[in-house]
Symmetry: C2
Subunit: 122 residues, 2 copies
DNA sequence: CTTCATGTGTACTGTGTGGTACACACTATA
DNA sequence: TATAGTGTGTACCACACAGTACACATGAAG
């Protein structure tokens, strides 16, 4: 596999950051890097997809910065939030199986379950 | 935290293996180690909780060996199966949210959902 | 023209992961 | 009593993860 492989995370956040930057000069790479707590050179590598992994903590900060969904950004990095992982690990028989059962359901069916759960029907 | 911390995985599989061993001498540490493809000294460290991580692949083999549930053994190691992870990463908005919503539901409620999904009601 | 901010290249680091290789002491057994 | 098998201690290893530190070239702004 090539060095700059097709991981879309870097390109995605770069685009998002630069779009913010058009109206807010505080969204330079350097300043965003400082706000999420990494060196500019490192964020640069991240944005160019140079196999520079971000920790979950930084990804969550970046999601706040760029007004993105945390779970989506984590997923783009191949990760899953620790809180979600913990839910599964505490009741693996239940949750691992449920997820496998839901794997092939279409979105609208999963959404229906979510709605029913939220309505407190359970 | 102490070196041999309170991770229960090692003690758990040791007990299980030794119970098998009472009726089947092929369940010595060495032979099981060979069957799952690690060095005996390493499995020894695993069983004594000496911070010796097993890869998912070996854990799944061990689950077959010891007639244990794969997801449960993985969970005891603080891991989640790659297949389950992939389901979540492919549709993070749906699944991460669903899991958080189900977090505090009692077992029987989750089971009801599983049953309904399996009955094809969705 | 200088000065400041910006993005990037290069080198380096510590910790965790997932192991191997081999020697050692003990035990069962034939 | 040889010897085969058993569990363990010690040393070592490669690679992934998650970065820092600093120099450099460029571009914008005063």
């Amino acid at each position: 596999m090539r060095n700059t492989d097709k991981n879309p995370f870097g390109a995605y956040i770069r685009e998002k950051r630069e779009s913010f930057r058009k109206t807010d000069r505080s969204f330079s790479l350097r300043q965003v890097a400082q706000r999420i707590g990494v060196e500019p050179s490192y964020l640069s590598k991240v944005e160019r997809g140079e196999n520079a992994p971000l920790s979950e903590e930084k990804i969550l900060l970046l999601a706040l910065e760029l007004d993105e969904d945390q779970d989506v950004l984590l997923a783009l990095c191949g990760k899953i939030g620790k809180d979600v992982q913990e839910v599964i690990r505490k009741r693996p028989l239940l949750f691992a199986q449920l997820i496998r059962d839901l794997k092939n359901l279409p979105d609208h069916a999963v959404l229906r379950i979510i709605r029913e759960v939220r309505d407190g029907k359970w």
